[in-house]
Amino acid sequence: MAYFRMTQMALKWAISKPATNPYPFAPRVIIPGSRGLLTFNKDTCVYCSVCRKKCPTGAIGVNRHQKKWAIDRLRCISCGYCVEACPKDSLALSTSHGSPAVTKDREIYQGEMPAPKAPAAAPAPVPAG
């Protein structure tokens, strides 16, 4: 009967397992192919700045002389344009979403400098500026 369709559905679900996940306590099911956090490999990067030019939101900053690569996580839209453009495959999109960005910092990665200076610990959040 038409009137009891919803009753059927409500009763069916009352005795079956909920469709939702207890999210923060149980991890989300990872869907392959999902565009998540942008990961950077500083060992292969040549600091050519192609990703910076391609990024539609201007989230990436590159300094060729100081061998620095930086990303503003709040601006990144995980579109993957930089991944497609990178000639050295130093960039990739992981399926995880990473930890929430709570400050407007940029993540700065310092590459190996040829000079005998000590390399900075990476990743080290530095105030935006």
Binding site: A2, Y3, R5, M6, M9, A10, W13, A19, I31, P32, G33, S34, R35, P56, T57, I77, S78, C79, G80, E84, L93
Partner: protein
């Protein structure tokens, strides 16, 4: 009789987005309704002066958070038309499939909101439970959940391989079964019918005169569906626009319910005929010319007017979203209805205010 002015919005629990209606009510009868928008004007159209036309796809997609893919697609179509780019057929089919998936999730979202509007919480939850499955398909095939980011000028950025297509179709079968359950409740439940039937009747002529588009127009008996223009792969697929003669809220609900299954059918057709080959062509040079591309959003006809002058930035990018065209009808429908019907009437035009204001 004492008149009360009820400020309905811009922040109100039944409204998904910031539109404001000043409702003048006598007891519980609405005698006048004045809409106000402009709370979320972001000036996206002005952004063409800063972004080049390739990057602008991402901005176009962000015009709306729900029908985002079709926004990007329409923008690409307009630019491709101006530049004379021949998009590979496989890209056309993939765009069609993603467009219909986005219609599925948008309509399921709307059904949930409507159920919430007439105080049927569990139906709301169940609609969104099914929508979640559609979102999972979308995430698996495009990488995004509501912002697909797969459209680009000259084609698409991702392919769906055979295995992924098989799994998509398998999941679609499950979703179709779930949707059947929910749609049965919407169309046959006594209390739902009591709230929807005969509420906000819009005659066929009025709908045409007021410039209604999409399900709003089709529920009043107008056979108006921009997919009939044959953009993307729609020219090669068979479908009939779903119309209803009644023109009331129930008809608008029924049209959208029907379109759920129509979309499933279109995805299946497109998957069966999916041609092989390239998914994009290389686009060189800059556009010069103007074109008004029109596609069918879940909410109705969207118009993208693009004017370019041969530089990498466009000269003008103008969006006329379906909600904008449906607001006059809402203003006409509201006076005379009960206060309890206001959420239903507002929701049956499927308001998407952030895209209305760009």
């Amino acid at each position: 009789m004492a008149r009360t002015v009820i400020p309905f919005g811009p922040q109100h629990p039944v409204l998904p987005e910031p539109i404001m209606l000043d409702l003048v009510v006598e007891d519980e009868k609405v005698v006048e309704a004045i809409p106000k928008i402009g709370f979320v004007h972001r000036g996206l159209e002005k952004l063409v002066e800063k972004k080049d036309f390739h990057e602008f796809v991402f901005v176009a997609e962000r015009v709306c958070g729900i029908c985002s893919f079709i926004h990007g697609q329409t923008y690409c179509q307009a630019v491709e038309q101006i530049m004379g780019v021949a998009v590979p057929p496989r890209a056309h089919y993939l765009r069609t499939i993603w467009g219909e998936l986005s219609r599925l999730h948008s309509h399921l979202l709307w059904l949930g909101l409507l159920a919430d509007g007439f105080g049927f919480e569990s139906l709301f939850m169940h609609s969104w439970r099914v929508r979640e499955k559609v979102l999972n398909i979308i995430e698996a095939t495009t990488g995004g959940r509501v912002i697909f980011g797969t459209c680009k000028v000259g084609g698409v950025r991702r392919d769906i391989d055979t295995a992924a297509m098989q799994s998509l179709l398998a999941q679609l079968a499950v979703i179709e079964k779930d949707m059947r359950e929910i749609v049965d409740v919407f169309l046959e439940d006594n209390s739902v019918k009591r709230r929807l039937c005969g509420v906000g009747v819009l005659a066929k002529d009025d709908a045409y005169q007021l410039g209604c588009v999409g399900p709003m127009a089709r529920a009043s008996g107008l056979t108006q569906d921009m997919r009939q223009l044959g953009y993307a792969a729609f020219g090669e697929l068979t479908f009939q626009p779903i119309t209803r003669p009644e023109g009331d809220s129930f008809a608008r609900c029924a049209v959208r319910c029907g379109e759920l299954f129509q979309s499933v059918d279109l995805i299946r057709q497109a998957a069966a005929r999916l041609p092989t080959g390239e998914i994009e062509v290389k686009v060189t040079g800059n556009p010069n010319g103007e074109f008004a591309a029109r596609t069918e959003q879940p909410r109705g006809e969207v118009v993208y007017y693009v004017k370019a002058n041969g530089t990498k930035n466009l000269q003008r990018f103008r969006v006329r979203t379906p909600t904008f065209a449906n607001i006059p009808a809402l203003v006409k429908l509201l006076p005379g209805c009960d206060l309890a019907d206001v959420p239903i009437l507002v929701l049956t035009i499927d308001p998407c205010i952030s895209c209305t204001e760009r």
